[in-house]
């Protein structure tokens, strides 16, 4: 049955309309989770507020498990679902640059739009920065292309990479997430902050 648009159950235009509704759900959940606040987001890096870690990893393991169950029930053909490509160096260097942007800016792209939606002026400035950053990449593309294209590994799943089943992989990630949740609850008690 799924993915609906790939299997032509719905048209391309319906797909775009559903993107809007999926976006509404995404924005609503992010804002309800507290992701419209930069001080809350940055809190995870100092231990005073670990909501990012909790929401992010609960989201990731729910999505992993959900897709595995959907596949098991025959609701979605995982071979038709896009798996992000792995270009080793650009992924790592890009991630390091994004990490620096995160701790300085207090937002990531999705959360900045969420913060802007409820009136955070720092989020608007962050978004202006995003546009400048993407434009810089576009203009510097020829210079960055060797790094951008280096060490292309295809689209391996982490389960394939380590040669273990998808179920066991997800179980390991869930156990790691539970350990992090335990650590996060402990850190919040250790580094309390007043409400902001």
């Amino acid at each position: 049955m799924g993915p609906l648009v790939v299997n032509e159950v719905i048209s391309e235009n319906t797909n775009l309309l559903l993107a809007f509704f999926i976006g509404i759900a995404f924005g609503f959940v992010l804002e309800q989770g507290g992701f419209s606040s930069s001080r809350k987001l940055a809190g995870v890096f100092y231990g005073y507020d670990t909501v990012v870690l909790k929401v992010f990893f609960t989201g990731a393991i729910t999505a992993m498990l959900g897709l595995l169950f959907f596949s098991l029930f025959g609701w979605v053909d995982l071979s038709l679902v896009y798996v992000n490509e792995t270009f080793l160096w650009s992924t790592l260097v890009g991630g390091v640059i994004m990490g620096a942007g995160f701790i300085m800016g207090g937002y990531c792209p999705g959360t900045s739009f969420c913060g802007a939606a409820i009136g955070k002026i720092d989020a608007y400035i962050f978004i202006i920065g995003l546009f400048i950053g993407v434009f810089i990449f576009g203009e510097a593309y020829n210079l960055l292309e060797p790094l951008y294209m280096a060490e292309f590994w295809g689209s391996p799943r982490i389960s394939e990479y380590f040669g273990i089943s998808e179920g066991v992989t997800v179980l390991v990630v869930i156990l790691a997430a539970v350990a992090m949740f335990w650590g996060a609850e402990w850190a919040e008690k250790l580094f309390p902050r007043d409400e902001y």
């Binding site: 797909n15 993107a19 759900a25 419209s36 992000n84 701790i103 300085m104 810089i136 590994w153």
Partner: protein, 165 residues
């Protein structure tokens, strides 16, 4: 909202995106769409000369804004606003640690945004598109992206502590 509940709902949104469209969520991709459309409109010859712009535009039949992530991000703004309304959080403000000036916060917000924009293009997606959605489909790249983003932010946290604590 309880963060674990919010996380479960977030995960279900990712599942819904994959079920409907065979792809995950994203945010920086919509910014890229806007930049490509802008450069094409203002400087079409320049856009044609750079593979970054024209490859993307070709992949979208010459309409870079008619893109899944653009519609999804419009939804994010609507959904975020709606959530702010019902939780009574709509207010214009610069949020920062009382120990620093608003201006300092805004300068770092701009710098952080520039870095995040640049890094998201190099890394082929941001926290939503590469890390969260990549991990959801068990992509090795998604896990590496998550580790690099959060790992770096943790390592640099000490140097930027005045901004936040």
């Amino acid at each position: 909202m309880n963060p674990y509940l919010a996380g479960v709902l977030l995960g279900l949104v990712v599942v819904a995106a994959n079920f409907v469209s065979g792809r995950g969520l994203g945010a920086s991709g919509a910014v890229k769409s806007a930049i490509v459309a802008g450069v094409e409109t203002i400087a079409p010859k320049h856009a044609d000369a750079s593979p970054f712009y024209h490859k993307y535009s070709e992949a979208h039949q010459g309409k870079p804004l008619n893109n899944w992530l653009v519609y999804q991000m419009l939804g994010v703004v609507v959904g975020g606003f709606f959530s702010g309304v019902i939780s009574r959080r709509l207010t214009w403000k610069v949020e920062h640690n009382p120990g620093i000036k608003s201006k300092t916060r805004l300068i770092f917000a701009l710098a952080g945004g520039i870095l995040f924009g640049l890094g998201s293009q190099l890394g082929r997606g941001c926290t939503s598109g590469s890390a969260l959605s990549g991990m959801a489909v068990l992509s090795l790249g998604g896990f590496l992206s998550m580790a690099a983003i959060f790992g770096t932010a943790f390592m640099l946290a000490y140097f930027f502590r005045k901004l936040w604590i």
